[in-house]
């Protein structure tokens, strides 16, 4: 029965990580937004205001749980839970280091995509359950947006999968470094299996994956409802979109889901395109930097660093670009990203057949 204990510990550990990341992420976002807007951000609580979100969460949890009189109580109460659990379940298949993955699933990538799509259902549930026109408008917008952007994201991911020839995330990670059992070629011509480092990441093994990565990144912003794709919660027109009516612990859950989603999509992007837990440092002759910096601890360090960097870019974009109008949003998805993603998929096939 020992392994059941391990399962529960792993799940609890992941939950703890998600919570800690959200606390840190909210603080980081406030600091980054302050820097971009030439302000100071939180400074009073703790050193550099680092305990600000902890104080916020304590306040949030003490708030009264208000259920609107006309709301559908069951749906209203369940919605934040479903939104969060959908995102949290996705973490089960993500590899953290060589040999360190909560659940080694053959079809890990597909599983993550399936489980994320449940979030849409939770959002619709929240919108309908609240019985508020702003909520339902936000929920409808969110669902439309997520469903549309799943297509370019899916095809960008498929073009990476065609290069990797597997849906197992740990195997995809393994292929992009010195631990790979297959030969990896930089730009399809220079054998870098022993050199590793940044040269054997997927985006450099097949250069068109760079385009696929950008498509995936843009689509992932839309899927996590982040600016410039935040019309579901557009403050200037919809109050707060689908989570208008939520207070206290329920609002905290919605927030937790948003930040976990940011981390999840960034980590999937890192695993597929940016070398997963592999080191960016290559082996140069007898200076075997890649061999020195590959291992369990190093793996966690690298993947955390890369994912945090992507999350920081997400925040940077949020505080820099204005919100897209709904028709611009759909134009971008269907007329720009989808054809480009199709082209990437086609190139992947050609690359696999004639170059690799």
């Amino acid at each position: 029965m020992n392994f059941y204990v391990t399962y529960f510990l792993t799940a609890a550990g992941l939950f703890g990580f998600v919570g800690a990341f959200t606390l840190f992420g909210v603080w980081g976002e406030r600091k980054i937004s302050a820097f971009i807007q030439n302000r100071l951000g939180p400074t009073e609580t703790g050193k550099f205001g680092s305990l600000q979100t902890l104080a916020d969460i304590v306040k949030l949890l003490q708030k009264e749980l208000i259920i609107p009189a006309a709301a559908d109580k069951v749906l209203f109460l369940m919605a934040p839970g479903i939104i969060f659990i959908a995102v949290y379940l996705g973490f089960a298949a993500l590899p953290w280091a060589p040999g360190l993955v909560p659940s080694q699933i053959n079809i890990g990538l597909y599983y993550i995509f399936a489980i994320i799509s449940i979030e849409t259902l939770g959002i619709l549930m929240a919108g309908w359950g609240s019985n508020n026109k702003y909520s339902i408008l936000g929920a409808m917008r969110s669902a439309a947006q997520i469903i549309s952007y799943e297509i370019p994201a899916g095809f960008a991911v498929i073009s990476a999968v065609m290069i990797a020839q597997t849906l197992n995330l740990q195997t995809i990670a393994m292929q992009q470094g010195i631990l790979s059992s297959e030969t990896s070629k930089f730009l399809g011509m220079w054998d870098v299996s022993k050199i590793g480092g940044i040269l054997s990441w997927n985006v450099f093994q097949a250069p068109h994956l760079l385009v696929a990565f950008v498509i995936y990144f843009i689509a992932s912003l839309a899927e996590s409802n982040r600016a410039p794709f935040d019309i579901p919660e557009a403050e200037s027109e919809l109050v707060a979109g689908f989570h208008t009516e939520f207070t206290g612990p329920q609002f905290a859950l919605v927030f937790l889901a948003e930040y976990s989603m940011m981390f999840l999509v960034s980590m999937v992007g890192v695993i597929l395109f940016l070398g997963a837990w592999n080191t960016p440092l290559p082996n140069i002759g007898s200076v075997t930097l890649a061999t020195w910096t590959t291992g369990t601890v190093w793996g966690i360090v690298w993947i955390l660093a890369k994912t945090m960097a992507l999350v920081a870019v997400q925040m940077w974009i949020r505080w820099t670009l204005p919100r897209l109008r709904v028709d611009q949003l759909m134009n971008l998805c269907w007329k720009v990203l989808t054809p480009l993603a199709f082209a990437c998929m086609l190139l992947s096939g050609v690359w696999r057949l004639w170059v690799m």
Partner: protein, 183 residues
């Protein structure tokens, strides 16, 4: 009872219970969300049968696609239509329900017949496959197999389905066009 058996009965209970609630509940939205639980329980049963690809596909297509579309259709339809649907008499035994009752009964007979005649424990093709070692292990990847089969043995049905979906798309685009824009 082993853990697997316990899990099976639990999943079966969840699936059947939620399916019953979907059929009985008078609140349409609740029914739709209950249907989500039914589909999830079914996916769990597929996982127990070691068909993880089918389970995940079930969630992608039914939960991520069809259920959301049903919800959209529900939320976009007018209040009058919904109220008419909710006001239907819920008496179980009535003349109006006779055709559906008959249909359900016939289907039940067919299902029971299938279950008793199948003799799942010793199927011919299963035994042959076991004899020639033509099987996929638990930890092996089955997507390669599915992909190769789709592109070789089942290419014609696959293409036929894609043409069908294309027709549906064209039809939807035609229907949603405004009248004055035609011609």
């Amino acid at each position: 009872m082993s853990v697997v058996q316990l899990a099976f009965y639990f999943m079966a209970l969840v699936t059947l219970g939620s399916a019953l609630t979907v059929a009985i509940s008078k609140n349409l939205v609740r029914s739709i969300f209950m249907f989500f639980i039914t589909l999830f329980g079914l996916a769990g049963l597929y996982v127990l049968a070691l068909a993880d690809f089918v389970a995940v596909t079930q969630i992608v297509i039914y939960v991520g696609g069809i259920l959301v579309l049903i919800l959209f259709a529900f939320m976009l339809s007018g209040k009058e239509a919904l109220e008419a649907a909710q006001k239907q008499s819920s008496r179980f035994v009535s003349l109006k329900n006779l055709p559906s009752l008959l249909l359900a009964l016939f289907f039940l007979v067919v299902m029971i017949n299938v279950i008793f005649k199948a003799d799942v424990a010793n199927l011919q093709w299963l035994k042959e496959a076991n004899g020639t070692q033509n099987v996929i292990g638990v930890n092996e990847s089955m997507i390669n197999n599915i992909g190769v089969n789709l592109m070789t043995r089942y290419l014609l049905p696959f293409e036929a389905i894609s043409v069908l979906l294309m027709l549906a798309l064209v039809g939807a685009a035609h229907l949603s066009r405004k009248e004055d824009m035609r011609g």
